[in-house]
């Protein structure tokens, strides 16, 4: 990818960075366990878009799509297991507050 082609796709990169910032902010600021997972989802969406844009810019679209499909499969599994953990924590602590999930006893 030359400097010109990178500049051509710079607008996509700006929006990807903004999406990353929103995901990180949601992860850092919120106290709700489900909202933490929503922040994580936004981060994964930014990574997905970055892979697709990089594949398009480098003319490796097929490889980028294969990697995106793998990423989506991993995303589904992570979110499903995390939802199970959230439900388990909620039944234990009677709350979705992250601050109440700090009393782990090993």
């Amino acid at each position: 990818m030359t400097t010109e082609s990178l500049a051509l796709f710079w607008p996509f990169c700006i929006f990807i960075i903004m999406l990353f910032i929103m995901g990180f902010y949601c992860l850092l600021v919120t106290n709700n366990l489900i909202r933490v997972l929503i922040g994580l989802e936004l981060l994964i969406k930014a990574a997905t878009l970055l892979i697709v844009v990089a594949g398009y810019a480098c003319n490796h679209i097929a490889l980028a799509q294969a990697l995106t499909i793998t990423l989506i499969v991993i995303e589904v599994v992570v979110i499903t297991v995390a939802m199970g953990v959230v439900l388990g924590l909620r039944s234990h602590n009677k709350s979705l507050d992250v601050r109440k999930a700090r009393n782990l006893k090993g």
């Binding site: 796709f9 607008p11 489900i34 679209i61 097929a62 799509q65 499969v73 995303e75 599994v77 388990g88």
Partner: protein, 166 residues
């Protein structure tokens, strides 16, 4: 190599707005719907970037399945009391009002930034068909996907078995 068009920028602005609404909205259910909307807009971006197979996966799995998982989990948790809602609203306003300011400021700063990075172009793609790439070049990825899926299934089974025992 084709670049971007005005319609791409409009779609990306829509993606940012839906993501911002997902983070900023008070209701968890609306957040989950916003996340599905973000996935749907991301699907359109993927279609525009000549990645139809990945776009279909994004639409069916992320916009459909994950939204169902989120909404099911939200419906399984009890709603807050009125006092908790009022306290929650005050807390949220003080914590989340920075986000739109930060996002807009970073967007404007990056738009005026002149990028001068020279990256070497990778070798030409030998295989143009995504199915051939997935089944011939990246078949180890498929094995990894199967293992991850099985790990996820066993993880959920163990989590709910432990919950039932308690």
């Amino acid at each position: 190599m084709p670049g971007y068009e005005t319609v791409d920028i409009v779609i990306l602005v829509g993606l940012t707005l839906s993501a911002l609404w997902t983070v900023m909205t008070r209701s968890l259910l609306r957040s989950a719907i916003g996340l599905a909307m973000t996935s749907a807009v991301l699907t359109v971006v993927m279609f525009r970037l000549n990645s139809p197979l990945a776009a279909v996966f994004e639409l069916s799995v992320c916009s459909g399945l994950i939204s169902v998982v989120f909404i099911s989990t939200i419906s399984l948790t009890q709603p807050l009391t009125w006092e908790e809602i009022i306290q929650h609203m005050k807390d949220r306003l003080s914590r989340f009002w920075y986000l739109p300011v930060i996002v807009v400021a970073v967007g404007i700063a990056l738009a005026f930034l002149k990028v001068k990075i020279g990256i070497v172009l990778p070798p030409e793609e030998t295989e143009k068909d995504v199915r051939a790439v997935l089944w011939n070049l990246r078949h180890i990825d498929l094995i990894g996907q199967v293992i991850i899926l099985l790990a996820g299934v066993f993880g959920v089974v163990i989590l709910f078995r432990e919950a039932n025992k308690k």
